[in-house]
């Protein structure tokens, strides 16, 4: 009797497991884009106005799991996916995880700018928004501590994630590079790489850049005349236009973020 009963239970459990596995795989298949859907999903993809604050808070959270580039990219994808299952809904998580630490820890372009620029391009918005994001990152004292307002209002990140440190010191990077901007902040604050403070700074930078990106996208998609005004750093005209006309590679990055020569350096012996 007892053996029979156990056997029935085992059977029921086994049957349940089979059914569960079947339904999970069925759901997974249902969520997978068909070849036709994927083939038809040419960029740009549709954009609907998002809640910048909600996306930014999510960016703060995603940073701790997947790094800065993914944190600025995924929350926007996630927010757009529900209304757009054939486009944004087809994307998997962690596509931009590679961009953390300036691409695989190489300290090049800050991951927040990588994620932000990708989203801007995917929605078909003006490249001026990318320029504005680049400039905002370099010339704004970051982190803005904007997330403090949410914390004061009672918001807390999901369980297990650190609460934002209140009103931390800020620094203006004058550079889009992970290495330069984070070093500038670290030298100002004395916080070590990998410290609680450094991670807090980068999580908040994700908040700031996600907020900025969504704010710009909302404005541009509401009216494409809403193109942000971007004035390039004066060192660009002084160096690239006035003297270095050839053969150096052009760029929009402030020359003096890396080169500290005075404008008359060619004539100084």
């Amino acid at each position: 009797m007892s053996d029979k009963s156990i056997s029935r239970r085992k059977f029921l459990v086994g049957a349940g497991a089979v059914l569960g596995a079947a339904s999970v795989s069925g759901l997974a298949l249902a969520n997978r884009p068909s070849a036709a859907r994927a083939a038809g999903a040419a960029l740009p993809w549709p954009y609907i106005g998002l809640d910048a604050e909600a996306v930014a808070r999510r960016a703060y959270e995603v940073y701790y799991a997947s790094g800065c580039a993914e944190a600025t990219w995924w929350p926007i994808v996630e927010a757009l996916a529900a209304a757009n299952p054939d486009t944004w809904g087809t994307l998997p998580k962690n596509v931009f995880k590679f961009g953390g630490g300036g691409v695989g820890g190489w300290g090049t372009v800050c991951g927040t700018l990588n994620g932000s620029s990708a989203i801007i391009a995917m929605t078909g918005a003006s490249g001026k928004l990318t320029d504005a994001a680049m400039q905002y990152y370099a010339e704004t004292p970051l982190p803005t501590n904007g997330i403090d307002k949410a914390v004061r209002a009672g918001w807390a990140p999901v369980a297990g994630l650190p609460t934002p440190l209140p009103n931390v010191p800020t620094s203006t990077a004058h550079s889009q590079l992970c290495h330069a901007s984070l070093s500038q902040w670290a030298m100002t604050t004395g916080a070590g790489d990998g410290s609680r403070e450094q991670k807090d700074r980068c999580a908040k930078a994700c908040y700031d850049m996600a907020f900025k990106t969504v704010t710009m996208l909302n404005a541009w998609h509401a009216d494409p005349a809403n193109v942000p005004t971007v004035t390039l750093d004066s060192s660009i005209a002084a160096c690239q236009t006035a003297c270095h006309t050839t053969p150096i590679a052009k760029g929009k990055m402030a020359c003096d973020s890396c080169h500290d020569q005075t404008p008359d350096h060619a004539s100084v012996q």
Binding site: P141, D148, N167, P169, S171, T188, T189
Partner: protein, 236 residues
Amino acid sequence: MRKASHLTMLAIAIVCVFGVFAVSAYTSPTSTTPPTGDDAVAPTTTSDINDSYIGDATIDLTAADNDGGWGVAYIYYKLDHGYTHLFTVGTTAETSVTVKAPAIGSAASATHKISFWSQDKFGNVEQRTTKTFTVNAAKFVTALTLKRSASRVRALQPFTLSGVIRPGAVCKVAAQRRKPGTRTWKTHWVRTTAGSGAYSCRYRTGVKGTWSFRTRFTESPSSLGSVSPIVRVRVK
């Protein structure tokens, strides 16, 4: 019944006393409860910076938040191409920056750029203020001479004190005198020397006795030859 009544009275009294204490603590002006409400205004940082300095420059930075603001949290400054320095405000929102002058004797000067700004406890960050200033090497002297036009004069008869500073430069020298019968030196004038380093001054007094005079180079008091020899004039 009577016992219960006493206990009730005691309980009421305790509640009243603690209640008064609790209310007074909550409304105390020294309460450290953080401010509430938004603060949209950044603090303001001021400095006592000059256009130029002789010797090391010390620049004081003072920050103040707006009325009703959350208070100043940090003062920042950046000197030339260096990294940003952070001062975390404790009891006073003041800090200072010292910029070293070129080495004495180098006769050189250096132009610097300083930017400073503050952040309040709400998180508002002030726009940077940027100033340019020059720090000149401290002047130095190897010799400071002092001569008198007469060793003896009558009361109220003018006489001249003159000298020269070497190497010649436009700078300030202070003349000091010691009255007859005293041991204390008092500065009675400060003169700016000519480009050659020469200076002079006429002097007269009605106080009779032996007067002592000397001059001092005040811009770098510790440099060699910064005090002249003492000369004496007897007033009859």
